[in-house]
């Protein structure tokens, strides 16, 4: 299987500059510096690399949107990895920090950026030491700082730890948080490419996205584009969690059937149970029932099946579970993480929680299902950022695919309370 990001991932001391260089690290810089910055952007465009943070926006296109001739510009690496189920960036940061640095240098060179930030979630406190050490090493070796490898290009990268909010993974909230403000999403337009960090043009990319760039520069866009499906190029890290025998991060070529990921890579369902449902791309994506397990793991196929690839967190649910429990847990997460800015999200997430909780206490009524759907309708697409949509998605998809799980609770209603 093609391994780009996880090639040698378990090599001893890969996090040190010495080992990373022995594995061929930082070779891409010279190649890049020999070209014009625009050529690198073209290369990334040609590779078909799409943002791995969740939205899947073409990376090269994003870079080319930067406001012309406005400087300074900033690069923010989104290492907030806060989508439940996702733990792929963590592994990259932990084991291969230099790969990210190399990717950031390439991106900064392509976009003429001289300052980069790695915004890490507060829980990555330990990783920030590894990252800082790696930055220090890279700096000492001349990969960072002034006039990198004699190219005349300067770059400094800093780490920044968040204070613990899911919403700070949203790019504009990340910028607010990085500036020292409250983690609330910003109004768009202006988009970060025009007015981002400190009101300057800013590129924001996920850790995984940036880590792919050295491969593209080293091996060429064509080689990367040859992998995957027509519109979903390359490989993707998938964090498989839930009721599988071998949960963990796996790198797969986009388009690999989900069945293969669950049954071959992750070893199948635990305890001899059967697959009931899976959430293909992190908790904010709609869940899919077991009969969709043959869907190809790529952006388009999953969208067609009614969900999203998202951040690549495959959450597997077996038949020992009542989906309503899962739903309540997910709502609870979003209720806790709502920033409170938009009324439908702030009030709606709590109301959904109250209703589903009451259903689980066997105190619900059949009409509650319609009401839940109606409330979801009032929340979906009505808020500033997609957090409300993320909360709505498990509710709507669970009712769609597993209505009978809800109905089970109503069967248990004591006669007196009807």
């Amino acid at each position: 299987m093609t391994q780009i990001l996880f090639k040698n991932i378990n090599a001893k001391d890969l996090h040190t500059l010495k080992v990373y260089e022995e594995q061929g690290g930082y070779q891409s810089l010279k190649k890049a510096f020999a070209r014009k910055p625009e050529e690198i952007i073209e290369m990334v465009k040609a590779s078909g690399l799409r943002g791995r943070g969740g939205a899947g926006f073409p990376a090269g296109l994003k870079w080319s949107f930067l406001a012309k001739n406005v400087f300074p510009r900033y690069l923010c690496c989104n290492a907030d990895e806060s989508e439940p189920g996702t733990c792929k960036d963590r592994e990259l940061l932990l084991k291969n920090p230099h790969m990210l640095i190399e990717g950031m240098i390439l991106c900064s060179y392509a976009c003429q950026i001289e300052t980069g930030y790695i915004y890490m979630r507060g829980e990555f406190h330990d990783l920030s030491f590894i990252m800082d050490k790696a930055l220090e090493e890279a700096h000492a070796k001349g990969y960072l700082g002034k006039n990198i490898l004699g190219s005349g290009f300067n770059l400094d990268i800093h780490t920044h730890l968040g204070a613990g909010a899911y919403i700070c993974g949203e790019e504009s909230a990340l910028l607010n948080s990085l500036e020292g403000g409250r983690g609330e999403p910003r109004m768009k337009p202006p988009f970060p490419a025009v007015e981002g960090l400190y009101a300057k043009p800013t590129v924001i990319n996920n850790v995984e996205t940036l880590c792919v760039v050295p491969y593209i520069v080293n091996e060429g866009a064509e080689k990367y584009a040859a992998l995957g499906t027509e519109k979903s190029k390359g490989t993707k890290l998938v964090s498989v969690s839930g009721h599988v025998k071998k949960p963990g991060n796996y790198e797969v070529v986009l388009g690999t059937p989900t069945r293969e990921i669950i049954y071959d890579l992750a070893g199948g369902i635990r305890d001899g149970n059967k697959l009931k449902a899976f959430i293909p791309g992190g908790s904010s994506t709609p869940m899919l029932p077991a009969d969709k397990v043959d869907v190809g793991y790529d952006y388009e196929a999953i969208a067609e099946a009614g969900s999203m690839l998202g951040s690549g967190a495959l959450i597997v649910i077996d038949d020992s579970v009542n989906i309503v429990e899962t739903t309540l847990r997910l709502i609870s997460f979003y209720m806790h993480e709502s920033c409170g800015k938009c009324t439908p999200c702030r009030e709606g997430t709590r109301w959904l929680y109250q209703i589903v909780e009451r259903i689980m206490q066997n105190k619900g009524q059949l009409e509650y299902i319609d009401k839940l759907e109606d409330i979801c309708g009032n929340m979906a697409m009505k808020t500033f950022c997609p957090l409300a949509d993320a909360c709505v998605s498990p509710v709507v998809s669970s009712i769609k695919h597993f209505r009978s799980d809800y109905e089970e609770y109503f069967k248990k209603i004591p006669v007196s309370s009807v």
């Binding site: 209720m335 709502s338 409170g340 938009c342 009030e347 997430t349 109250q354 009505k382 500033f384």
Partner: protein
């Protein structure tokens, strides 16, 4: 249609609006109301409440009209089924945990949430759970109480704090369902503009502690009038009930206040019910403030009768001792009508030009355009001279901040003390206390040299050559400049220097130059225009223009220059001035000279005080006439930007209004004009005063009318070097403090928590020499007056000066200045 305009369709109606207009504002133009909670046109888009969702063709989802800029050929629908469903949904969420305590809520009856629910909401609720309970009454400050249960977290108030006040005093705390409006570390939300959040709160969450539960809004009589404090003349609504002032709210007028008022406007009008209010005319036995034992006037004498007696007494003295023996000290706080009539009374009735209203030098008119405050936003450079808007004219402070942060305006200041707005200025140049005349001349000369004109040599103002050079360059290259100067903070003849500077700036090619004379008193500009001056008739007509004077005011109009206020006091002391009428002024406290003023006033044969509140001066008066004052009176005032606006009667007074009392006195002195109502006086002003031709009750209306410029006299004098002090003494600068404890803002005021004790601000150089440290108690002495203050070594001024904010009447800081108003050298020692 220009490039800067966009045409779009809203609910089938075509509308053309400027580029960058938000959809919600564009809709208002064609009478389409899009409901909002968080959006406020002065604060800008937030996108929090989601109430304004509308359908825009070609957009996949509903859009918030408050965050969306108009685009060409956009087709917007605000009443489709989809939109109505969304509005219902959002309102349901908004009301989900909002208490239904409208029957006792202060906002009831004027609540946007109520209104929107009536218009767009569902008649019942689907909420089956217990509503969330939260704190019902938490004090954010002594004047604002928050009801957290009612808060819908729209963030309007916090956005106001961030974008308008720009101090982030009020912020959102916590997150999600638990977010709430609060302050850092639970400190009080206490600044000069905090009260505006009460007006903009779309629910009853932020409440006026004073007004809480006092009256239902529909029981209030709302009168559109003006604030009676500083020279901004912000528009306010006074809500009264049963002839009692209940609350004051902002009444947005872009040309004046941009929709905001300061806390002094909101809570500083309680003096209308002060127990110190002078409500009847009385005679005093001089010196003790108690009624005389053998009054000529009956005990409950009406103001009109007493006024008649006063006029007769003045007439008698003027006939006996000549017109030079009577004088009038008027007020920059009185209305134009009152001031106009009073100057007419003394000039035509008594033949005297002994008329004044101030203790500093100034002349009417400007050699350049008199800019209104809106011009600040379109100026490239705003130059502050001796002005501290934050303390003196708070709403001007907001306007400047807005221009600097949201427009392209640069702020530069030429001042003798550091001010709060320095934070926003690109250059703050400081001259020595007392060195304003030299500093201003240095700037004029610098410009003159740039323009190839001759420039005179100059003394040392304490400004480095580099600073001055860069200031000259900023001014010269400004294209459009607005000079904001405070004449009352300029000593000696510095104000003529400002006018010479303005003339010089106007000579710069392609320069647009205007000025705002920013004295902090309510109607300082109006008092100048109305000729409350010993050397100018109304409209800036100088005594030398005899022809014009005779034409306007008749053959008998006096043309000899009269005595200034300070000269009148000096003559009174010598016994040469026999009778003085003081209108709404308190020389004992506010004039330089301290005890000397009291002694002088005691020597008068006749002192008549016409005032609204008991003052130290009223205690010395032989006769006290009641003045109704703001809240009760009617008339016009002219703000710092030359805008004439109407003050209206919100409360019924027992006594005749001031203008009526003055007109009766005029009648006694032979003037036959019968003014039936105050607008008759306004009409006469329009006829007689240059610049006021357009002013009438109708033209002034609710939002005012700019007067034309008045005649400006030539300025010739040039600056004298700073006088040296006696060994080791420091030059005193009295600074303005907005919340000073005086007659109007007394101990019973809702703003008493702002009162401060005396402080003296030193430069570290002087402090080192005098052995003073931060927090020491120091004694400042001059003119046999001692003032105790806490020392602050904060380099607020250059070495050789000391800044003392005027924090209360009791401080008697004006007593430190010599009676001629010129020297202000104080001895300082540590106690």
């Amino acid at each position: 249609m220009s490039d800067n305009e966009v045409t779009l369709t809203i609910d089938g109606k075509s509308v053309t609006v400027p580029k960058g207009t938000k959809l919600v504002d564009a809709a208002k133009r064609v009478d389409v109301e899009i409901p909002v909670f968080c959006y406020h046109e002065k604060i800008g888009a937030l996108g929090c409440c989601r109430m304004c969702l509308v359908e825009v063709e070609k957009m996949p989802k509903l859009m918030t009209a408050c965050t969306m800029d108009v685009m060409p050929d956009m087709v917007v629908k605000t009443t489709t089924e989809k939109v109505e469903k969304a509005q219902k949904g959002v309102l349901e969420f908004t009301l989900l945990n909002h208490p239904l305590d409208c029957p006792v809520c202060d906002k009831g009856g004027e609540c946007p949430l109520q209104d929107n629910v009536f218009k767009h909401g569902s008649p019942d609720t689907r909420m089956e759970f217990h509503r969330h309970n939260n704190a019902k009454a938490t004090a954010l400050s002594p004047v604002i109480t928050i009801d957290r249960e009612r808060c819908i977290a729209c963030q309007r108030c916090t956005a106001y704090s961030e974008r308008i006040e720009q101090d982030r005093g009020l912020v959102m705390l916590n997150r999600g369902f638990h977010n709430e409006v609060g302050t850092f570390n639970n400190e009080p939300y206490d600044n000069r503009f905090s009260g505006n959040v009460i007006d903009i709160c779309p629910v009853g969450a932020l409440t006026n502690t004073d007004f809480r539960f006092k009256a239902r809004t529909w029981d209030l009589t709302n009168v559109e009038t003006l604030c009676a404090h500083c020279g901004c003349n912000c528009n306010i609504t006074m809500g009264t009930r049963l002839n009692e002032l209940m609350r004051v709210e902002a009444r947005p007028n872009d040309a004046v206040d941009d929709g905001w008022i300061c806390d002094k406007a909101r809570w500083g009008h309680q003096f209308v019910h002060s127990e110190n209010k002078i409500s009847i005319a009385r005679e005093n036995s001089v010196g003790d403030g108690k009624p005389t034992s053998f009054p000529v006037l009956p005990h409950d004498c009406a103001g009109e009768d007493a006024a008649g007696k006063a006029a007769e007494a003045f007439k008698k003295i003027a006939e006996e001792h000549g017109p030079q023996s009577v004088g009038f000290i008027g007020s920059p706080y009185a209305t134009n009508e009152e001031n106009y009539l009073y100057q007419k009374l003394f000039r035509l009735g008594l033949g005297s030009n002994n008329i004044d209203h101030k203790v500093y030098q100034d002349t009417p008119g400007l050699p350049v355009s008199h800019y209104d405050v809106e011009q600040i936003e379109t100026s490239n450079v705003v130059l502050l001279i001796a002005s501290d808007p934050t303390e003196e004219l708070p709403i001007l402070d907001l306007r400047i901040k807005k221009a600097v942060t949201h427009g392209g305006t640069r702020l530069v200041s030429l001042n003798d003390q550091t001010i709060a707005l320095d934070k926003y200025s690109t250059q703050s140049v400081q001259y020595k206390v007392g060195g304003e005349a030299l500093a201003i001349d240095a700037l004029t000369n610098g410009l003159a040299r740039e323009l190839g004109e001759s420039a005179s040599a100059q003394g040392d103002s304490g400004i480095s050559a580099d600073d001055m050079k860069s200031l000259v360059e900023t001014v010269r290259s400004s294209m459009k400049i607005c000079v904001v100067y405070n004449p009352s903070a300029l000593s000696g003849e510095a104000v003529s220097g400002v006018k010479r500077l303005l003339k010089m700036i106007a000579k710069v090619p392609t320069m647009e130059c205007g000025a705002i004379p920013a004295a902090p008193m309510t109607n300082a500009v109006g008092a100048m225009d109305m000729g409350l001056l010993p050397d100018f008739y109304p409209g800036g007509v100088p005594m030398s223009d005899e022809e014009e004077i005779k034409k306007q005011w008749g053959e008998n109009a006096p043309t000899a220059t009269g005595l200034s206020a300070l000269e009148m006091i000096a003559r009174a002391e010598k016994g040469e001035l026999k009778a003085l009428l003081v209108h709404r002024s308190n020389p004992v406290m506010d004039f330089p000279g301290g005890a000397q003023v009291t002694e002088a006033l005691k020597k008068l044969d006749l002192l008549v005080v016409h005032d609204m509140l008991e003052t130290e001066t009223a205690k010395l008066a032989n006769l006290v006439l009641p003045s109704n004052g703001p809240g009760y009176d009617e008339g016009t005032t002219t703000n710092i930007g030359g805008r004439v606006q109407a003050r209206r009667k919100a409360l019924q007074a027992d006594q005749a209004p001031d203008w009526k009392i003055i007109s009766l006195m005029l009648n006694v002195l032979g003037d036959e004009t019968d003014y039936g109502k105050v607008s008759d006086v306004t009409e006469e002003i329009a006829r007689k005063v240059s610049g006021y031709q357009q002013i009438s009750r109708r033209s002034v209306g609710k939002t005012g009318c700019n007067r034309d410029s008045v005649i400006s006299a030539d300025e010739q004098a040039s600056a004298k070097p700073v006088q040296a002090g006696t060994n080791g003494s420091l030059r005193l600068r009295i600074a303005t403090f907005l919340f000073a404890e005086d007659k109007v803002l007394d101990a019973s005021s809702k703003l008493a928590h702002h009162f401060q004790s005396s402080t003296a601000h030193f430069n570290e150089e002087d402090a080192g020499r005098l052995g003073i440290q931060d927090g020491n108690t120091v004694l400042l002495s001059a003119e046999n007056v001692n003032l105790e203050a806490t020392a602050k070594v904060d380099n607020r001024c250059q070495p050789g000066g000391v800044v003392v904010p005027r924090v209360s009447d009791g401080q008697r800081v004006n007593g430190l200045i010599s009676a001629d108003g010129n020297t202000a050298w104080v001895e300082v020692r540590k106690v």
